[in-house]
């Protein structure tokens, strides 16, 4: 199918990318915390919530881990992000294909399964494996490059946004900045983009590539990442 797609679908593809990256990245991040809690380490979930700018109504680290990861009713939870990911995927069945879509469905099942086990770490691994397989299927089985690229734009935006929020070192941002520059450069569909944000990200990508530090604050960078696509 090589005809053009609607704005609705572009929107769904972008958010499919964002939500899948959100599930993947936060699960990986929290899996490490989960491990360190075994040694009695204190995790600073208040700071975590603050960084992501979400309400922090959790009473304990334990309750945070349960609710933030698994609770369907918690709109900030990873489980809710997984649901939103699947929701965006479901309306794209004929665009991405039933087989690719099935990995999203399996990811949601895997999360629900992990929620009721005593060793959720294994469940986290399964979730991340499935999301990797999803990404791989997108790469191999979605024929149109621009469709793949919209999903990837969403994923890169989300990863950058989280990396900045989690205060990752600058060099960790480079890869996704590079990707965004490439995808936006070759995009043939009229994605609504903020030109100023794009210029800022291009300039910062170049700096990091040459080993220079960012010339804007992290907040400014975050703002540009979030406003790059008007979707």
């Amino acid at each position: 199918m090589d005809h053009d797609i609607s704005m609705t679908k572009i929107n769904n593809l972008f958010w499919l990318g964002r939500y899948s990256a959100r599930v993947d990245t936060t699960i990986r991040y929290l899996a490490k915390w989960y491990d360190s809690m075994l040694d009695g380490k204190v995790i600073d979930f208040q700071h975590f919530c603050q960084s992501l700018d979400i309400p922090c109504n959790y009473l304990s680290a334990y309750q945070f881990m349960r609710s933030y990861i698994f609770e369907k009713k918690n709109p900030d939870s990873v489980r809710s992000a997984a649901e939103a990911m699947l929701g965006n995927g479901m309306v794209l069945r004929e665009t991405i294909g039933s087989n690719t879509l099935s990995y999203l469905q399996m990811t949601v099942y895997a999360m629900d399964k992990a929620a009721v086990t005593t060793n959720p770490w294994l469940g986290f691994q399964k979730v991340c494996d499935l999301l990797m397989a999803f990404a791989g299927r997108c790469d191999v089985y979605i024929d149109q490059q621009c469709i793949r690229d919209i999903i990837k734009c969403g994923a890169s935006v989300e990863r950058l946004s989280l990396s900045i929020a989690f205060d990752y070192p600058e060099k960790a941002l480079l890869k996704d900045l590079q990707k965004l520059v490439v995808y936006t450069g070759r995009m043939v569909l009229p994605l609504p983009m903020d030109e100023d944000a794009l210029a800022l990200l291009q300039a910062q990508e170049e700096r990091l590539e040459w080993g220079d530090p960012l010339s804007v604050s992290r907040q400014e960078l975050q703002k540009a990442v979030e406003s790059l696509f008007q979707l």
Binding site: H3, D4, I10, G87, V91, G97, S102, Q105
Partner: protein
């Protein structure tokens, strides 16, 4: 077969993996449920199927002629075969469709004919569904998954392949297409049959679109692609008539496409199925289908109706009043298994109330003999139990009338219930048409 039963769990796991669900509204909330699948297929022998196929083609051909006649010259009314008030008082009759000739004169492109097999070995048609019959996607995907889970079963049985439904659907859309792409138009993600809409779009290579993705300009329907609008030549709409076009039907509809009827009327787009088909699958009109076959085709009906009485006619009213305790009374305005009352389940006081209702509005009801239909085996907790089941056969009409060699077999999970609708908790089976060898 035993092999397939042994793999029941794997099949169900696969169905879950592919999100084979239907939506259901309960207490105002939308929920999605897996559609329970039973691995024991309904098998139809090739010689039985031949009769069924001929009968279905005959029936759908007559129904299409009837629709063309009603929205055109109305010969069957003038000739007194059907009292005209059955047509013009039917909620399915849409005056807004008068005089419209759809591309190639086809009204019901995708027909779902509900049948049951009586203990006497005869197939009875229970209902014609000519508006937006759903359900083909379920046996379609189930077959694929069953083959994967239990290849041995399919190696040793001569089952006709049913995986061509997407291709058949595409063919019908292509044959009526007026120039442009094929679109499947869905009310949206929160529709009970959304899985089906999206799966059929994938299988037929059509574009799945919602209201916001479509618009009409200068009498042409367009798909709002991100660069330039793309002309739509055929729209398989899964939005019901009343919501299809807010400028023609229900003005408050948010899921329709304004002026779609204008484009359709101008002959610039094929609408599958045609608006206004409800007049032919009305429970009151059902009674007259055998007469239509005789009238339009001058043939004997091959398939039987369930014995039906129209209280509208005095002698049928008398019979209905006398035998109401043994009959099933159907409200012609209701669908989906609602408005179906079994006389035998009612107390004397309730029976009196029902009689009163029938006497007050005779045209609103039909009465049918309860058919003693063959139960089908269901695999439940490791044993076989017998349950009521029906068959929805799918007939696709383009340049030719084609019967899909399969169908949706629905069964009631409740041993006491005759109602098999998915919205009332039923499950489904694959339907195998056997080859002659």
């Amino acid at each position: 077969m035993q092999d397939l039963l042994m793999h029941k769990d794997q099949v169900n796991e696969q169905l879950a993996r592919y999100g084979v669900k239907f939506g259901i509204y309960k207490d105002g909330k939308f929920n999605e449920r897996l559609f329970p699948f039973d691995p024991i297929p309904r098998q139809i022998e090739s010689r039985d199927y031949e009769i069924l196929e001929k009968g279905l083609r005959q029936r759908v051909t007559a129904l299409n002629l009837f629709l063309a006649d009603i929205y055109g010259r109305k010969r069957i009314l003038r000739d007194g075969i059907i009292p005209e008030e059955f047509v013009f008082r039917s909620p399915g009759y849409l005056a807004e469709c008068e005089g419209i000739t759809p591309p190639k004169g086809i009204y019901s492109h995708i027909s779902g004919i509900d049948l049951v097999l009586g203990k006497d070995g005869i197939w009875y048609v229970l209902e014609d569904n000519l508006r937006i019959p759903s359900g083909a996607s379920y046996p379609l995907i189930a077959r694929r998954l069953c083959r994967n889970c239990s290849p041995r079963t399919f190696r040793s049985n001569n089952v006709r392949d049913n995986r061509n439904y997407g291709a058949l659907l595409k063919q019908v859309m292509d044959e009526v297409n007026t120039g442009g792409i094929n679109v499947i138009f869905t009310p949206g993600r929160y529709n009970a049959a959304y899985f089906e809409h999206s799966y059929l779009a994938e299988q037929s290579g059509a574009v799945l679109a919602e209201s916001a993705d479509l618009f009409v300009e200068q009498g042409v329907l367009y798909y709002k692609a991100s660069r330039d609008p793309v002309k739509v030549g055929a729209v398989y709409r899964r939005v019901s008539d009343e919501y299809l076009d807010p400028l023609c039907f229900e003005p408050s509809s948010l899921i329709g496409v304004p002026n779609l009827m204008d484009a359709y009327r101008a002959g610039n787009v094929a609408v599958l199925n045609a608006p206004g088909n409800g007049v032919a699958d009305d429970k009151g009109i059902y009674y007259f289908v055998p007469k239509m076959i005789a009238y339009y085709l001058e043939e004997e009906p091959i398939l039987h109706n369930a014995p039906t009485f129209l209280p509208y006619f005095p002698e049928d009213m008398a019979y209905t009043m006398e035998h109401i305790g043994e009959l099933v009374i159907k409200d012609v305005a209701e669908a989906g298994g609602y408005g179906v009352i079994f006389g035998e389940n009612l107390s004397p006081a309730e029976l009196e109330k029902l009689k009163e209702a029938v006497r007050r509005e005779p045209r609103r009801f039909i009465a049918q003999t309860v058919i003693d239909f063959q139960d089908l085996p269901i695999w439940e907790d490791g044993t076989q139990v017998m349950r009521k089941a029906d068959l929805r056969a799918f007939v696709l009409t383009g340049d030719k009338v084609r019967v899909w060699p399969s169908g949706l077999t629905r069964f009631s999970r409740n041993p006491d219930s005759f109602v098999v609708n998915s919205s009332q908790g039923g499950g489904f089976k694959d339907t195998w048409i056997m080859t002659s060898r």
